[in-house]
Symmetry: C2
Subunit: 679 residues, 2 copies
């Protein structure tokens, strides 16, 4: 029954997987794999916070059907926290259950420690108030024999008379509630009108606030902004891992999953729709008084205690939604065949924006509401990039902007009001910390900043969730877990700046540091960033040669993309570089420049614009004209397919080098030592 | 166990019910109640045509759970026609099963004898071709790196270029099929566009015919016209009893059912939606080759044999639907609360027409198609009357028309291009043959024409399904079953013309005929129309005093309505009387005038316009401008609430008399003997 001393463990919903030694507790396994499970009591089996659900605890080849066998025997301490019904459903405590065989483990939201640092927080952006949905208050007279006009026509007449709204339709599903709402409100109602075209909600009496959600469906992360449409205020930002991660980490592997499984599209779509529904529920719950909330939601009550009293919303109060996402996410969400998006010449099924009834999508907001899905530019530059565009509006400026949106894919926009180009480059998920030996998402314990002494090669670093740098901490205080995306770039830039790696990306074989070594397991050179004693995973956290190559591939793709676009545009310099996405929020601009992520630019002209795609979704939520603008720009930005440029391969190879020719990066002078630049 | 010697039997789907003597066969019971079950072998238990399903064979109060007990013991002859599975489901032969207790019996379509004579057949009406849905053929180029435009945008561009169609949307559900249809058609497709606004179907290659259904939802009967939208041809007319009949025969009893049952609206709506779906299926099946059809559909193959080769349609080929119905039927179908339609001042929920996605209604035509529901005029003058109006177009004429639509309710329109009024009157279902002792629907065996000799009071008559009148037949050849709506009026008019009844409606006590008698069961006077030997039900078919009163109430309501409207209009004469509805098709204009159904008019100015409501639905299906016209007329016809006219009661009482003052009906002179007119 025992097949070697290792077992495969997959954690949901993150989709993270790894091989661990049999006999470890699930908590221990989670640490090794980089999944955060809450353990308030430090595995003393007394807090019950580390509840997980064993989804699949057997693999057919082993012929075992009891989940408890694979997750170890039931412990009496578990009974205190897990009732019979939950036990039946597969619940265990992570500190008690053991890895005795291959396991698929679901970590419920409340058991997830150190919630992801939401780098998709809403920025202040200037949006003119003009939401697609508006509320109107009307009073009508009661029907009489002299005027037995229908309920609806009474309201329509009043909406016309008082607000000049003409020829309105009414959503059929809503119409069913009209007679009762009208009478309950004693012929005084508040009416929600969508796009001056259709009545989508009728509420008795006077209603003031009304709410919408702007959604950014990323390949890895999904963020939702709950907005008060009347005041434009962002009430809450909620986010989650894209539940599709389990089908593959990047766009291509999801498309492949669809092509290999006849129900793949259906499953992936249902998963993201389910995810959106849970975000809707989560955003609504945040508006409820603290006592009604689950213990795990620790951040929210503060806001309400400070007097930000919103009415307690439920999903029917959400009467508008805008969605952005790359073309593959867009297609999969909408159950549109993404197959051709993955094959040259990558035609999408649709460019233009769509207004789809929430009920047709299965999205549980008000059932009469529309979901507005922003338009796509091309197969690999989707509605998310359109979101970036309408948030940043480069087409309204004279200066030439280079906008880089680094998510799981890299999307590039270059231009100004005269001409705008877009493109995509296959950066892969390396910038998000994925596929690296000790990569992890931006969560507590992740290395996000690093300094390497050019003389001693000693390392100082900072982790998310702890203000003090390592130099000012005891080793055991660091509880380091891995390196997140923005940290990765820091590490590489410092390794290069300090001469540990060469411009080719190879480790400098002439190392003086004891942190450099050849890993006996894989015979790869590596450089230790954090010693085992500083970590919570009990082993050294290092950067391997393979990790460096991954980052080089990503940055090469990005740099090469920028250069080719500039060549097409006939320019050799940009006025401004904007970095969007989670990566942009955390990245050190200087380090990015050192790494040569993009062409040379004055440091203070490099700005981070946060989750601009999400900002665009929010702009479209709060201003209907932005929706028109989005459709216009999606068809007026010229999409460049970089891979068919004749010298693409050559350019890409060159771009993988770390220090670019000195003359190409005048702004690096003084940041990187001359001797390294001229290596 | 035996509770007296009678039991209640209800037949579905007609909803007809009655008390019959225990021990009768179900076939015998069906005859007494006026339900037609096929019996080819004359109950010799050898043809197996009289299969029925026992739906409820026990009532809790009796504490019996075996259906066979209530329907009598299983007979060995039944085994030949009913297998074990069917027996389990409650199937029996009507000739073998007996009424041993209360029964709810479902008569499957194939067991229904003498299908209803469809009096809702489509007339030739002049309609200009301009359907809401049109098909367009487009060829697009394949995507390339130079032009990787999305599938949809390729088609939109071509539709714009070739047909001038701009800013089209596409139905979201359809969009999912677009990529495969486009590639299956090698980039050549036929596109269905709704109202120049939305793409609702895409088919590979060239497609020529396209199809829609116009539906008339009557309180009692539902008719559907399957039309080729390309040629305007009516391919087939299918009809059925409104399945809601089991909740009550008239509009008010359905509204009451809703108010008494919290799920009443849902149930009634689901039933009619289910009914529409079966009509869709039936209409589609009619286009299939005869060999694929069920044996029972005997009328259809002829059409196909004559070379009318349509493609075999399925429900997805139906890409448009229009619906008319009175306001209550409209509301119930759409699950709109009909409560207020039943209470003064009877305001509907909505007047204007609606375009509802078929899928939102659960109607199984093409799921991207819209269902167009015509507008309502008022609480008791609904979309069916609007259908009559757009078919007859009185608002385009100089002559003053009185249009009478007699279904289960009476709807009146009076006016011309200068002014148009509408009204409703509670005729009840008497004109449809319901609620009369021997009333039945218009089916084989129903008396439809009658003559009474003024001297001898001898009766001659004709039944539906047999050309020869009684005089030219042997008694046993008649197989008379009852009297249908149009026959009823004939009977009354003849009874009056021959002096059997007086103008007050009372039987003339000085009767010379042996057909006049006092029924010993109920102590009511009655006049025998058909002796038992001429009938298939084994007893005399007679008209009772109560029957006469029912008809008088109906005709009084109608006449009074017409008079009050004319008074409002300030006229004492109309130029033309149009009688719509099934009743109008069968009625003898002279007899209607004798009965004083409506104010005096030259006989040749009285015309029957058939199912004008259905014609209106068809007009709206084939010409989108008719939909606009319908909305316009629904708000420009003045609805008159007759019951609040100050002398309504007085007028109503007077109108119940049969022979009106001679001077009011100059056209009766010469038809009705002077001595009777002056009674």
């Amino acid at each position: 029954m025992v097949q070697g001393d290792k077992a495969t463990v997959i954690f949901q919903p993150s989709g993270r997987r790894g091989e661990v030694r049999r006999g470890l507790s699930i908590i221990e396994a989670s640490r090794q794999i980089g999944v955060d499970i809450e353990t308030l009591c430090g595995e003393k089996r007394v807090c019950g916070k580390c509840k997980v659900r064993i989804e699949e605890g057997f693999f057919e080849k082993y012929g075992i059907t009891s989940t408890e066998k694979h997750a170890g025997e039931w412990q009496k301490e578990e009974e205190k926290f897990i009732n019979a019904e939950q036990r039946e459903a597969g619940y265990r405590l992570g500190c008690c259950a053991k890895v005795e065989g291959d396991l698929l483990i679901f970590v419920p939201e409340e058991s997830r420690a150190g919630k992801q640092v939401v780098s998709k927080a809403a920025r202040d952006i200037h949006i003119e108030w003009n939401p697609a949905v508006r509320y109107y208050y009307v009073e009508v007279s009661e029907p009489t024999f002299e005027s037995p006009t229908a309920d609806l026509e009474r309201i329509l007449e009043e909406l016309n008379k008082r607000y000049g709204l003409k020829d309105l339709d009414i959503d059929y599903v809503l119409l069913k509630q009209l007679p009762s709402q009208l009478r309950e409100g004693s012929w005084k109602v508040t009416v929600a009108v969508w796009m001056n075209r259709e009545i989508i909600r009728v509420l008795p009496g006077t209603v003031e606030g009304y709410y919408g959600l702007a959604i950014d469906v990323g390949t890895t992360t999904v963020a939702a902004y709950l907005c008060n449409l009347a005041t434009m205020e962002v009430i809450d930002t909620v986010s989650m891992m894209n539940p599709q991660c389990k089908y593959g980490e990047d766009v291509m592997s999801r498309i492949t999953y669809h092509m290999m499984h006849s129900d793949g599209l259906e499953k992936m779509s249902d998963d993201i729709i389910g995810g959106l529904n849970s975000l809707v529920a989560q955003a609504c719950e945040a508006t409820h008084p603290p006592k009604k909330k689950k213990a795990a939601n620790k951040e929210k009550p503060a806001q309400i205690e400070e007097g930000r009293a919103y009415p307690c919303l439920d999903h029917t109060d959400i009467i508008d939604m805008t969605i952005v996402g790359n073309t593959a996410m867009h297609h999969i969400l909408l159950k549109l065949n993404p197959e051709y998006v993955g094959v040259a010449p990558f035609p999408p099924v649709i460019h233009k924006s769509m207004d789809i009834k929430a009920r047709d999508l299965g999205i549980q907001i008000n059932e009469s509401a529309y979901v507005h899905v922003l338009p796509n530019e091309a197969g690999f530059v989707g509605a998310d990039n359109v979101g970036v565009l309408i948030a940043e509006e480069p087409y309204k400026k004279h200066e030439i902007q280079l906008i880089i949106d680094i998510g799981t894919n890299g999307e590039l926009v270059l231009g100004n009001k005269a001409k705008l180009m877009s493109s995509s480059c296959a950066t892969g998920p390396a910038f998000e910390g994925a596929q690296l030996t000790f990569g992890m998402r931006a969560a507590p314990g992740a290395i996000e900043r690093i300094n390497i002494d050019t003389e001693t090669h000693e390392v100082d670093y900072k982790v998310i969730g702890r203000d003090a740098w390592k130099t000012y901490s005891k080793p055991e205080e660091m509880q380091t877990k891995g390196i997140c995306g923005s940290g990765i770039l820091d590490v590489l830039a410092e390794l290069y700046r300090s001469g540990v790696i060469l411009k080719s990306g190879r480790f400098n074989p002439n190392q003086k540091s004891k942190r450099y070594r050849i890993n006996s397991d894989n015979n790869q050179p590596e450089f230790v960033i954090a010693w085992a004693e500083e970590t919570s995973i009990g082993k050294d956290i290092a950067i391997t040669q393979k990790d460096v190559r991954q980052i080089q591939l990503a940055k090469g793709a990005l740099y090469c993309g920028c250069k080719l676009m500039m060549r097409r545009m006939g320019i050799d310099k940009v006025d401004k570089v904007k970095i969007a996405g989670a990566f942009g929020t955390h990245v050190d601009r200087e380090k990015a420049l050192i790494m040569g992520l993009f062409p040379d630019c004055e440091i203070d002209k490099i700005v981070s614009v946060g989750n601009a795609a999400g900002d665009g979704a929010r702009a479209a939520l709060l201003n209907r004209e932005k929706r028109q603008e989005a459709n216009w720009v999606s068809r007026n930005v010229e999409y460049i397919e970089l891979t068919v440029e004749k010298d693409f391969q050559q350019q890409f190879m060159e771009a993988m080098q770390i220090p670019h020719m000195n003359d190409q990066f005048p702004h690096l002078k003084g940041i990187v030592p001359d001797d390294i630049l001229s290596q």
